[in-house]
């Protein structure tokens, strides 16, 4: 139901409205409660006016009984109705919100990671989560205030009309004006101020960002005072603009007060002659005059609703933008069964990121025979990660990729991923425990299995030293672990999943020289006998691979085993010797105790 609400061709705002559909019963209830609360306030003043007027004619007290009870009931009712309205509406909105989250999630699940390439940055993700939350504003700040205003305003006009049609008409006109012109003025003056200052704001924002992000450089260069002065000039310009636009800011409030007063004066002008010529009982004069005074309250929430509407619409548009992103990978209509063979074979594979992106892979031929270990090396931008994404069906490809003779695109992507396990470069460590991060790969695994896999990646000591062992929290993004420990944990997770074909994307990225060398050595042992593809920009530690493929600019520049590539003495050999020399030099420096006199060697 709600899953459909966010797809389709309707406007984003309508889709957001549709997401409230499942809780419309509760929302109608909340609107009625809200209107009742407002009507209590209106009724209190109206009935009190009648009560006092009638009492001044000194009737028997009994005749006032109903009015007295009504006044007290209205006095009590407002608070309780408002409280109930808030609880009902918030509960309903949170229910709807869960549905929207699930719907957006289902869509994200299809899109990730390639379709979300443009949304991957942290702030955009956070923004998206906030945009989902803004659906609650749609109900609480837009739909409910408008419904309440229509209901309570309508009842007030009807009652006034029943007492004196002319006064009812005056009230109707004033309320209509207040419900349309005041929100418009409020939104327009706010928007106007925004437009005027947008440029200065943008400029100041850029200067502040530059000042704060570039602070080390600016301070070190003694250039911070000049940068501060420049920001102050822009700040002054912005402040000047804001001060000038301030005078329009209160127009909405002023107009509201003016209209409420107009309603009262209008009622007086209509009612005084009516009393004189007998169309209106004098006892009701106070009611007709006081009702408009209170009735204006029913529409005071509308200017805020107009502002909220603009905000919610923008959020809905951003969400629709994500939801409407086309599927990055086509699923087969008749998915084939997984074949028995496990040989991966690539022929003339080309691929690109997004429908319009540049081709990143330009015709790759590659064989990953069952049980073989292959390394793909190359500088960043050579297409290594794209190749990996093709193999796990995150990216569509042209050409042919077969698994045991079956074309990958004819298989369900989830089935492919059950065989081809990926340990991504940016594999996520969840803000949970060590055990839970591991069990992601194998939900049924018991502690013994987890400890075993941790021991295999060299984390046994760490887990042993943690007070809560396997149940120790790893922190947000694994922040309680060091960079090396994080890499080892995600590696353990991939090993635990025990895929028949293991793909490791930059397993030693972000690690210092020594840690990287250790991990590379361990990797060789861990992947023995398993079909493995290691992608890396570092060459050392890959010497024992069955085949090393050098990727450059989306094509294969060189291939062969380590000895053959060294013998060729081309790209691979050049880079490998360079890394090797550095390593030797480091070892040498370490041997010499890290400190020596330079001058001895270079006279």
């Amino acid at each position: 139901m709600t899953r459909a609400a966010w797809t389709g061709t309707r406007s984003p705002f309508r889709r957001a409205l549709a997401s409230l559909q499942p809780v419309r019963g509760e929302l109608v209830g909340a609107a009625l409660l809200g209107a009742s609360a407002t009507l209590c306030a209106i009724g209190l003043l109206g009935v009190s006016g009648w009560l006092i007027s009638r009492a001044s004619q000194m009737p028997p007290v009994l005749t006032l009984g109903v009015a007295i009870v009504a006044v007290r009931a209205f006095g009590l009712g407002r608070g309780f109705f408002r409280y109930a309205e808030r609880l009902v509406s918030h509960d309903a909105v949170f229910r709807a919100l869960t549905d929207v989250r699930v719907a957006v999630w289902s869509r994200l699940e299809v899109l990730a990671p390639q379709g979300l390439a443009g949304f991957r940055r942290g702030d955009l993700l956070a923004r998206m989560v906030a945009d989902v939350d803004s659906v609650q504003d749609l109900a609480l700040r837009v739909v409910l205030p408008i419904s309440t205003a229509v209901l309570a305003g309508g009842v007030s006009v009807a009652v006034t009309w029943w007492l004196l049609p002319a006064a009812g008409a005056v009230l109707a006109v004033v309320l209509l004006l207040g419900a349309t012109v005041v929100p418009w003025v409020t939104a327009a003056s706010g928007g106007l101020a925004e437009t005027h200052s947008a440029r200065a704001r943008g400029e100041l924002s850029a200067q502040v960002r530059e000042l704060l992000h570039g602070a080390p450089d600016l301070i070190a260069c003694g250039a911070a005072p000049a940068a501060l002065a420049a920001a102050t000039v822009t700040d002054d310009a912005l402040t000047g603009l804001s001060r000038r636009s301030a005078w329009t800011a209160g127009l909405g409030s002023g107009l509201g007060v003016l209209l409420a007063g107009t309603a009262v004066i209008g009622a007086l002008v209509a009612a005084l002659p009516a009393v004189t010529d007998g169309r209106l009982d004098g006892v009701n004069l106070a009611v007709v005059v006081l009702l408009p005074l209170a009735a204006y309250e029913s529409i005071v929430g509308l200017p805020a609703a107009a502002l909220a509407f603009v905000r919610v619409r923008a959020s809905a548009e951003r969400l629709a933008e994500i939801v409407d992103t086309p599927d990055p990978v086509g699923e087969p209509t008749n998915a084939g069964l997984l074949p028995a063979g496990r040989d991966l074979r690539l022929r003339g594979v080309t691929a690109r990121w997004g429908a319009t992106g540049d081709q990143v892979l330009l015709g790759i031929d590659l064989d990953l025979a069952a049980g073989s270990r292959t390394a793909v090396v190359g500088t960043s931008g050579a297409g290594k990660s794209t190749l990996v994404s093709v193999l796990v069906r995150f990216v569509d490809y042209a050409g042919s990729v077969t698994l045991g003779g079956m074309e990958l695109r004819d298989l369900e992507a989830d089935d492919v991923r059950s065989l081809v396990g990926l340990c991504a470069q940016d594999a996520h460590v969840f803000d949970s425990t060590v055990a839970e991060n591991l069990r992601l790969a194998s939900p049924g695994a018991d502690d013994a299995i987890l400890l075993d896999v941790l021991a295999r990646v060299g984390l046994a000591d760490l887990v042993g030293s943690l007070p809560q062992g396997l149940d120790s929290p790893v922190g947000e993004h694994g922040s309680r672990l060091s960079g090396g420990q994080r890499r080892r944990l995600v590696l353990a997770r991939s090993l635990l999943a025990d895929p028949e074909i293991l793909v490791l994307d930059e397993p030693t990225e972000h690690l210092d020289e020594e840690t990287a060398a250790e991990l590379s050595a361990d990797l060789l042992d861990l992947t023995r006998g398993r079909t493995t593809l290691i992608v890396s920009h570092r060459l050392r530690g890959l010497e024992a691979m069955d085949e090393i493929v050098v990727l450059e600019g989306g094509v294969i520049a060189e291939r062969g085993d380590h000895a053959a590539l060294l013998a060729r003495n081309q790209v691979y050999a050049g880079r490998w010797w360079q890394e090797h020399e550095q390593h030797e030099a480091l070892a040498l420096a370490a041997q010499r105790g890290w400190s020596r006199d330079h001058k001895d060697e270079n006279p």
């Binding site: 009560l51 007290r72 869960t98 999630w105 942290g122 260069c221 002008v269 106070a286 922190g475």
Partner: protein
């Protein structure tokens, strides 16, 4: 939340003037409210009891119209003045915060996440609009109007005046009591709320990983469950926090009802006149209205106060280096002695440097090596005066025996003697020449070219010209040509080399550079040495370590030091999670 933080008055001077203006507007508003009730009651009584004609009431109705117009103008003026004052106060706070942040330095900025601070200084501070334009004036009105109205009611009917005067203070009293009784419960539920909201963000960020393990689809149920839990917890908070507004509404409305019934009963037995009764009925709600509005604006105001509070916290953070001495010793002959220094960061359990001692000899190249988290960059920050040690200190020891403590020096004067290349340098928007000249404004084009060449960007080289097509005038940084991390580093290195300072600090100058450029850097370091400069260089890679006179190896402290591997996405995500958890639900005003 305190309704008016006295620090705000101190740091935003315009607030004082605004308060005075608000009091004037408040007094006028109260007067208009009272006049309106008196005039309206008299017109109604005339119409009802004497069946007065419209013409006979023309005068009073015109007065009423004038009052309505005056009230409209006052309502407008309150907000207009509020917005104007808010603009001024925002500017004052922003300028102060920026200036203080820069003085606090990059280490502090990295700890507080400069992104968050940027938002706070621009969009974040806009929340003050609601505070100035609505909340503060309403707070003033909530004092002036009820008092004036009670006095006005007393002139008509003493009993009603007493009723209002007794019930009115009950409202803030009850609200404070409810607040106190429910605070702990609300706080507890708040923290579980932020955890839930962080969970969704965590799961979205880890989506590719979940998908790789075939667990993404099954997360749908988990998200639904978490959402449900979120709803239950939130409703628990709301049931309690809505109570205070229930009490507010109940007291205000019930008091008016009681007053109305009491007036009615006394009118029946003739002990009160209709005019007085009607006037009181019109005035009574006006006594409660400003207090109800304060409650309504509380939420918007809390945001504004929150933003202001964060700014005031920044302003009250002590500076790392506060010395005043301007007589910097001649660094060409002065030893820099780091003695038993311990540096800690508030967000880390273990110190970044622990009891560290080392000597940097003048005219030598000192390389600092060590694993991630060993404190290499912290040592550089210490030498720049960006962090203050919690123990120990840095001394400048002249050969004649005189010693000056780094902490006693004026930070700007000290830094004028230092050229520093940060670990991740930043190029502002501008030309390459501007970027290089940042630290040496007087440098000629020739100097700039030489510095660029020494940093591996020889503008005579065809390859380099492909990257920087307009030579020195090529625009870089935001809006300029896209430079790789390595190229940015080379431009920044040129900037550092161009600066004629006796002490040169280089934080990982060769990271993200290929082998060829690495050799250029090594040569540049050697050239600095020949020129008699003191060089301190943080290095991971062997080529640079070999070029040093002295290599100092720092050992990491503690077993599980979180590695700072400079992954900006992690930072951004962590920030996002905080931002999201700050507002998991919002109360309807």
């Amino acid at each position: 939340m305190r309704p008016l933080d006295p620090r705000l008055l101190r740091h935003a001077q315009s607030t004082k003037r605004f308060l005075v203006m608000t009091v004037v507007i408040g007094v006028l508003t109260a007067a208009m409210v009272i006049v309106q009730a008196f005039v309206l009651a008299r017109i109604i009584v005339a119409g009802f009891q004497q069946e007065a004609s419209l013409a006979s009431q023309r005068g009073p109705i015109l007065v009423l119209a004038a009052v309505v117009i005056a009230r409209a103008v006052l309502a407008w003026a309150t907000e207009a003045a509020g917005h104007a004052s808010s603009a001024q106060a925002k500017s004052e706070l922003r300028s102060a915060v920026l200036a203080h942040s820069v003085r606090l330095g990059p280490v502090w900025l990295a700890g507080t996440r400069s992104g968050e601070l940027t938002t706070l200084c621009t969009r974040g501070v806009d929340a003050l609009d609601g505070y100035y334009a609505r909340y503060l004036p309403q707070l003033v009105l909530a004092i002036i109007v009820p008092v004036s109205v009670i006095i006005a009611i007393a002139t008509q009917d003493l009993l009603s005046a007493v009723l209002v005067a007794v019930t009115l203070p009950l409202i803030p009293l009850f609200m404070a009591l409810i607040g106190r009784f429910t605070r702990r419960q609300v706080d507890r539920q708040w923290s579980s709320l932020s955890a839930l909201s962080g969970h969704f963000l965590d799961v979205v960020a880890g989506l590719p990983t979940l998908k790789a393990f075939g667990r993404a689809k099954s997360q749908t149920t988990s998200i639904a469950q978490v959402g449900d839990e979120y709803r239950r917890t939130t409703m628990g908070v709301l049931r309690v926090s809505f109570l205070s507004s229930l009490v507010l509404e109940l007291l205000a409305m019930l008091s008016v009802a009681v007053i109305a019934v009491a007036i009615g009963l006394r009118l029946v037995n003739g002990s009160l006149l209709l005019t007085a009764g009607l006037t009181v009925l019109l005035l009574a709600p006006e006594a409660y209205l400003p207090i109800r509005l304060v409650g309504q604006y509380f939420h918007a105001a809390a945001e504004g106060v929150g933003a202001a509070e964060r700014m005031l916290t920044v302003l009250e953070t002590p500076l790392p280096m506060t010395g005043l001495r301007l007589d910097i010793p001649d660094l060409r002959s002065t030893e820099i002695v780091v003695a038993n220094v311990t540096v800690g960061y508030p967000d880390r359990p273990t110190p970044a440097l622990h009891d560290q001692s080392l000597v940097i000899g003048p005219g030598l190249v000192t390389a600092i090596a060590g694993d991630n988290g060993a404190g290499k960059s912290t040592l550089m920050a210490l030498l720049m005066g960006f962090v203050a040690p919690v123990a120990g200190g840095v001394d400048l020891r002249h050969p004649d025996g005189s010693t000056v403590c780094l902490a006693d020096l004026d930070p700007d004067a000290w830094r004028s003697q230092v050229a520093y290349l940060p670990q991740s340098p930043y190029l502002g928007a501008g030309s390459v020449a501007d970027a290089v000249r940042l630290g040496s404004p007087a440098a000629t084009d020739g100097d700039v070219r030489r510095a660029l060449a020494a940093a591996g960007l020889d503008l005579a080289d065809a390859d380099v010209l492909r990257t920087l097509p307009a030579g020195l005038d090529t625009l870089v940084g935001e809006g300029g040509v896209g430079l790789s991390a390595g190229q940015v580093r080379r431009v920044a290195l040129a900037r550092t080399l161009c600066r004629d300072a006796p002490l040169v600090l280089l934080d990982e100058p060769t990271s993200a550079l290929d082998g060829t450029t690495e050799r250029v850097v090594v040569e540049a370091v050697a050239a600095l040495r020949r020129a008699g400069r003191t060089v301190v260089v943080v290095a991971h890679r062997p080529a640079l370590l070999l070029a040093a006179d002295v290599v100092i190896l720092l050992e990491p402290i503690g077993p599980a030091e979180p590695a700072d591997d400079g992954d900006p996405e992690v930072d951004a995500l962590a920030l996002g999670a905080n931002a999201a958890s700050a507002a998991p639900w919002t109360e309807r005003a």
